[in-house]
C-alpha cells in the first residue's frame, strides 16, 4: 500500500497537478506517526509512510494548507473524509485547492490498548496487517491486530470514503451495527450518582494539555473561547477544578452536531480519558431525537442542531426520558 501511495504522489507532483503532499512521517517512536508536508519526490522517499500506525486525522491540517499558494494532495482514510467534508461545509477548507486520494483503512494500532494488555518497555512495533509484532526491553511479543485496536477502530463507524477525487484500493461500507454506542448505553444505565462519579474520576485526571482541543477537527475557531478574555471562561492551565467541571463539557457542547466521531480526542489524551464518549452521547441523542445524522457525511444536509423541521421532537421528550426526575 505504501509503495502505491508514494508512487501516485510522485506522479502528481511530477506533472504539476499539486505542489505539495500532506501525509504521515515517522515520529519519535515507531508506532507514533506524525502528519507532515512533502514537497518533492526525494522527501517522499525519505520520509512518507502509510501503515497500520497512521492514525492521525489529516483533515484539520488542510484548513491552513488549503489557503496557501497552489494545489495540494492529501491522503484521507474513511474516517478523515467525514472531518474533511464537515470542514468544507463550514467554509473552513477551500475545496478547489485540494486533491484528495482516498486510502483504505482496516483500523489503526493503538499503543495505549497494547500497553493495557500488560506489555511494558515497548521499543518498536510492526504490523503485517494480521498480526502486530511488538519488541520490548523484555523480548518480542506478537498479538493479533484486532486486539490492538482502540475503541475508535474497534467500533469503526465507516469504511466508506465520503469525499475524494480518486481512490486507491476498494471503497468500504458504512457500519450501521450501532456498536459504537455500546459504552454510551452502559453509561446511560448508571444512576446519576454513579455516572457523576465515573466522569469525576475520569475528568479529574485532566492535566489541561489542550491536546484534545488542538487535535480536534471541529475545534478550529479563529479564536478559541478558552483563550478569549471576553468569553468569561478563559482558562489556560489546570489551576483549579475547571477541567473537572467545565472544560470538557463546554468543549463537547461546542462541537455537538459538528463532531464526526473521529475519536482523535481520546487517541491523543495522555491521561487516557475516554473523551469521545461525551461526544458519542450527544451523537446518540441527536440520532434519537432528530433522526440519524452523521456530521460530515455530505455537504448539503443541515445539522439538526442548526435547523428546524416540522418533525423535530418537542421539548417534552426530555420529560418522557425521565429528565424531570
Amino acid at each position: 500500500m505504501q509503495e502505491a501511495v508514494i508512487k501516485r504522489a510522485k506522479e502528481l507532483l511530477a506533472d504539476g497537478s499539486v505542489n505539495r503532499v500532506v501525509g504521515w512521517k515517522a515520529g519519535e517512536f515507531a508506532y507514533d506517526t506524525t502528519p507532515a508536508v512533502f514537497t518533492s519526490a526525494e522527501e517522499l522517499d525519505a520520509g512518507f509512510i502509510y501503515n497500520d500506525f497512521c492514525a492521525p486525522n489529516l483533515s484539520k491540517y488542510i484548513i491552513k494548507e488549503s489557503r496557501k499558494e497552489g494545489k495540494l494532495l492529501v491522503f484521507l482514510k474513511p474516517c478523515d473524509t467525514y472531518s474533511f467534508n464537515q470542514l468544507v461545509k463550514e467554509h473552513r477548507i477551500i475545496r478547489e485547492n485540494v486533491y484528495i486520494i482516498a486510502v483504505p483503512c482496516t483500523g489503526k494500532v493503538d499503543v495505549d490498548t497494547v500497553k493495557s494488555k500488560g506489555i511494558k518497555g515497548i521499543t518498536g512495533m510492526t504490523s503485517d496487517g494480521e498480526n502486530v509484532t511488538i519488541t520490548t526491553l523484555y523480548g518480542e511479543k506478537t498479538m493479533p491486530k484486532s486486539e490492538t485496536l482502540g475503541d475508535k477502530c474497534r467500533t469503526c463507524k465507516s469504511k466508506k470514503h465520503v469525499i475524494f477525487d480518486e481512490i486507491i484500493g476498494d471503497d468500504g461500507e458504512v457500519n450501521t451495527d450501532g456498536a459504537r454506542f455500546e459504552l454510551v448505553e452502559k453509561l446511560e444505565m448508571m444512576t446519576p450518582d454513579e455516572r457523576y462519579d465515573f466522569w469525576r474520576n475520569e475528568l479529574s485526571k485532566c492535566i489541561r494539555c489542550n491536546a484534545c482541543r488542538n487535535v480536534c477537527p471541529a475545534c478550529t475557531c479563529e479564536s478559541c473561547v478558552f483563550d478569549n478574555p471576553n468569553s468569561g471562561i478563559q482558562q489556560r492551565a489546570a489551576t483549579d477544578s475547571f477541567e473537572e467541571n467545565m472544560f470538557h463539557l463546554i468543549r463537547s457542547f461546542h462541537v455537538a452536531g459538528r463532531c464526526t466521531d473521529c475519536g482523535e480526542c481520546t487517541r491523543v489524551c495522555p491521561q487516557n480519558i475516554p473523551l469521545h464518549l461525551i461526544n458519542r452521547k450527544y451523537i446518540k441523542d441527536i440520532n434519537e431525537f432528530y433522526g440519524d445524522y452523521q456530521a460530515g457525511s455530505d455537504l448539503e444536509t443541515r445539522a439538526p442542531l442548526n435547523d428546524y423541521t416540522f418533525d423535530d421532537c418537542e421539548p417534552s421528550i426530555v420529560y418522557k426520558r425521565g429528565g424531570n426526575e
Binding site: R67, E90, H91, R92, T220, C221, E222, S223, C224, V225, N228, N230, S231, G232, H254, V255, R258, R302, N306, D307, Y308, F310
Partner: protein
C-alpha cells in the same frame, strides 16, 4: 467608573409587605459603584420618576437600577424618565422584585435576601451596559390575511374600510370558508349563505382587497412592519381572467366520479368544477388528481366546450412575492376525524353522519336538494324508508374527552347547533322523533338559552342526559342505539334510522405550519396563543402577527366576527404609523473571532446575516483573506439565536452580551 443610583419601589404593599425594602436600599449602598440608594412608595408615579431625574442630575449618575415590578410593566417608563434627565435610556436596568420575588414568597427574611441578590444582579449588569440608540424602520402599508373564511373576510373588509390594501390568501378555490357549508345559523335561524354571500361579494368588489384563492402562503420573512411573504398560486388549469364562470365545462366533463368535498363526499362532482353557485371568484378549477386530460393527455372536452378559451392544461403553479406591514392568521377549523370512535359505527353505516354532513343533507344546495334523506337512500329517494323517522343526536363526540382519542376542550358550538338541527327537523318533519344525548347543555350567549328551551319546550325534542355507549347497524339497515339515561337511571335501546355525531372541532391542519412560518406560538391543541389571554386577545406574542377567528380558540359566528373586527382594529393601528422605533439590542459580530462557518446565517430567522471575504493583517504581517459575518442592524430583531449558534463567541447581542449575562450569573452565585 460608573455612578449608579438604586431605587427600591414599595409598590404599595405589593412589594413592601414581603420584602424589607429599606433593608434592600441600605444593602445596595455597600455595592461597588453605587453612589445613591433609596426606597420609595411608588416609583412609577410622577413623584418616583421625578426622584430618578433629580438624582441623575444631582449625583451625576451614569446608570440606574430600579427594583420594582417586571420590566414588561414599567421598563419603558423608567427608560423615558432617565432619557429626560439626559442619560441614555439603555443605562437603566430593572430588578424584578415583585413578580419574581414578593409575590411568590411568604417569608420576609428570605424574600428580602432574594431581593438583595436580584438588585445586585442588575447592578452587575448595568456596570457593563453601553449606551444604545434605536433605529427606525418604515411600515409597509399593506396587510396579509391568511384564510378567507368569515373571520378573514371580516378582518379584510374592516382593514380595507380604513383605507389600507389587504390581500386574502385562501387555499380553497373560493373564499367563504366553513360557513358556506352551513345551512342555517343559530339562534336566529337565518340562512347562512344569505348573510355570508353579500360579504363575499363585498370582498371581491372592494378595490383595496385582493383575493388570492386556491393559493397558499409558502414562506414568510421579515418582521413587524416589514414582512415579505411568498404566495403560491396553485395551478387551476383555467385562465381566471378569461373564465366567465358559465359552468358549461362542469356539466360536460366526462369524469363524473369525483367525491364532492363541498358536500363532504355525500355526492360527486366533475373533475372540472366550481364549488358552489355563489363561489368567489366564480371560476372553474380542474382537479389534477382526477382530470383524464392531465393524467393521460386524452380528453380535452372542457377545452372544446369553453367558449372563452380559458382552459390551459399547461398552467403552472405561480409564486408571488409581496411585502406586508401586518399579518393576520385566520386559518379556521375542521371537524376532527372520528375514526377513533368506532363505537358510533361511523365507518360501518352511511346513516351515521357528522353534524356538518347533516348541514349538507338539509341544505338546498346539498346532495338531496334540501330534503332530509338518509345517506344510504340518496340514490333511491322515492323509497318510503328514505326519510328518517327516528334521529339520535350524540353530543360531545371528541370534545371534553379524558382519553387520547379526542380533545380535552369544549368545542363550544355543538350544543347550539345540535339544538338548531333538532328544532329544524321537528319543524319541517313533525312526525320525526328526535333524541339528543348530552353531558351538559351549554348555552351562554345572547338568546342562546331561550333558543335551547324552545327546542325542548316548543318543539318537543327529547333531551336525555347520558351518553350513547354503542351504535350497531341492524340487519334491516336501521341502527340500534344503546345509551344510558342518567336521570332515570335506565339503559335505553333506540331503533334509529339516522345518528348524528356532534363532532369536536380542531384547528385546521395547516395552522401549525402557518404558525411556524409566522414564528407565532401555539398551545398544545394547536390553537394560536394570544400575547395576553385577557388583555391582548387578538395579538400573537410575535409583533405584527394578529389572530382572527377559530384559529385562536373555538368560537361561534358572532364571536368570530367580533374578534375579526378587533384584529382589524389592531392592524389598522399598526399600519397607520409611518415609522416604528426599532430595538437597539441587536446582534453584532466580532470579525476578528469570526470563523465564517455560516452557523449564524443558518439559524437567523430574519435573514439579517450576510457573509463576505475580507482582508486581515496577520500577526506575521502577512495579509489573509477570511470569510466573515456581518449583521444588518435594521433587519436584526435581537432574538439571539445566532449568539448561541456561534461556536467561537464572535456573535454577541448588544444589551444582552454574554459577558453581561455571565456577570449576572456571577452576582447571583456570589
Amino acid at each position: 467608573m460608573h455612578r449608579i443610583g438604586v431605587f427600591v419601589c414599595h409598590c404599595g404593599t405589593n412589594i413592601a409587605a414581603t420584602v424589607d425594602v429599606k433593608a434592600v436600599a441600605e444593602a445596595m449602598k455597600q455595592e461597588p459603584s453605587v453612589v445613591f440608594s433609596v426606597d420609595y412608595q411608588y416609583m412609577c408615579s410622577e413623584g418616583g420618576q421625578t426622584l430618578i431625574q433629580d438624582t441623575i442630575k444631582e449625583h451625576k449618575l451614569t446608570g440606574v437600577v430600579v427594583c420594582s415590578c417586571s420590566p414588561r410593566m414599567h421598563e419603558a417608563t423608567f427608560r423615558k424618565a432617565a432619557a429626560k434627565a439626559g442619560i441614555n435610556p439603555y443605562m437603566v436596568e430593572i430588578a424584578n422584585i415583585r413578580e419574581q420575588c414578593s409575590w411568590i414568597h411568604k417569608d420576609i427574611m428570605s424574600a428580602t435576601d432574594k431581593a438583595i441578590i436580584l438588585a445586585r444582579t442588575a447592578i452587575a449588569k448595568v456596570q457593563l451596559n453601553a449606551p444604545l440608540t434605536a433605529g427606525e424602520s418604515p411600515v409597509t402599508k399593506r396587510a396579509l390575511v391568511i384564510g378567507g373564511g368569515i373571520a378573514g373576510m371580516q378582518t379584510a373588509l374592516d382593514i380595507a374600510e380604513a383605507g389600507f390594501e389587504v390581500d386574502i390568501v385562501e387555499k380553497q378555490p373560493t373564499i367563504g370558508g366553513k360557513m358556506t357549508q352551513i345551512d342555517k345559523t343559530f339562534p336566529t335561524l337565518d340562512c347562512a349563505s344569505c348573510i355570508l354571500t353579500p360579504k363575499m361579494v363585498d370582498c371581491s368588489q372592494n378595490e383595496k382587497i385582493h383575493i388570492y384563492a386556491y393559493s397558499e402562503v409558502v414562506e414568510v420573512n421579515g418582521f413587524v412592519g416589514n414582512f415579505t411573504a411568498k404566495i403560491k398560486k396553485k395551478a387551476r388549469y383555467v385562465d381566471t381572467t378569461k373564465c366567465t364562470g358559465c359552468g358549461i365545462c362542469t356539466e360536460k366533463c366526462p369524469q363524473k366520479k369525483v367525491p364532492n368535498e363541498f358536500n363532504l363526499g355525500l355526492n360527486n362532482r366533475r373533475a372540472i368544477y366550481i364549488p358552489f353557485a355563489q363561489a368567489v371568484p366564480k371560476v372553474a378549477t380542474i382537479d389534477a388528481d382526477y382530470c383524464t386530460m392531465l393524467k393521460t393527455g386524452k380528453c380535452g372536452v372542457c377545452s372544446k366546450v369553453c367558449t372563452a378559451g380559458a382552459i390551459d392544461y399547461k398552467q403552472q403553479d405561480e409564486i408571488i412575492e409581496e411585502r406586508y406591514g401586518a399579518i393576520v392568521a385566520a386559518t379556521g377549523y375542521n371537524p376532527i376525524k372520528i375514526d377513533k370512535y368506532d363505537e358510533f359505527a361511523y365507518s360501518q353505516s352511511k346513516d351515521v353522519v357528522t353534524s356538518l354532513e347533516l348541514e349538507r343533507l338539509m341544505n338546498a344546495a346539498g346532495p338531496s336538494n334540501g330534503t332530509l334523506i338518509r345517506p344510504s337512500y340518496l340514490d333511491k329517494q322515492d323509497d318510503h324508508r328514505a326519510h328518517p323517522k327516528t334521529i339520535v343526536f350524540v353530543q360531545c363526540v371528541g370534545s371534553r374527552s379524558c382519553d387520547d382519542c379526542g380533545k380535552s376542550y369544549c368545542s363550544k358550538i355543538c350544543c347550539m347547533y345540535t339544538a338548531k338541527h333538532a328544532m329544524l327537523i321537528r319543524e319541517k318533519y313533525p312526525d320525526t322523533d328526535v333524541y339528543v344525548f348530552y353531558i351538559d347543555v351549554r348555552t351562554p350567549g345572547k338568546l342562546f338559552d331561550e333558543f335551547y328551551r324552545r327546542a325542548v319546550e316548543q318543539y318537543g325534542v327529547h333531551y336525555i342526559k347520558g351518553m350513547v355507549g354503542k351504535v350497531s347497524p341492524r340487519p334491516d339497515g336501521n341502527l340500534d342505539v344503546q345509551a344510558s339515561d342518567l336521570i332515570s337511571n335506565e339503559q335505553l335501546h333506540i331503533n334509529a334510522d339516522l345518528v348524528v355525531l356532534a363532532t369536536a372541532i380542531e384547528p385546521d391542519q395547516t395552522a401549525r405550519s402557518v404558525a411556524t412560518m409566522l414564528r407565532a406560538s401555539m398551545d398544545t391543541n394547536d390553537f394560536f396563543t394570544e400575547a395576553h389571554a385577557k388583555l391582548r386577545p387578538v395579538e400573537s406574542p410575535t409583533a405584527g402577527v394578529f389572530l382572527s377567528g377559530v384559529c385562536q380558540g373555538p368560537k361561534d359566528i358572532p364571536e368570530t366576527v367580533s374578534q375579526a373586527s378587533a384584529a382589524a382594529a389592531k392592524v389598522i393601528g399598526l399600519l397607520a404609523k409611518d415609522k416604528l422605533t426599532g430595538n437597539p439590542c441587536v446582534a453584532h459580530s466580532d470579525e476578528l473571532m469570526c470563523n465564517g462557518c455560516s452557523a449564524c446565517e443558518k439559524v437567523c430567522p430574519y435573514g439579517a446575516i450576510t457573509y463576505s471575504d475580507k482582508e486581515f493583517r496577520q500577526p506575521d504581517r502577512t495579509v489573509a483573506i477570511r470569510r466573515v459575518a456581518a449583521v444588518n442592524e435594521a433587519v436584526c430583531q435581537g432574538c439571539g439565536a445566532c449568539t448561541v449558534a456561534c461556536p467561537s463567541g464572535a456573535m454577541d447581542l448588544k444589551g444582552f452580551s454574554n459577558k453581561q449575562i455571565m456577570a449576572e450569573v456571577d452576582a447571583i452565585c456570589k
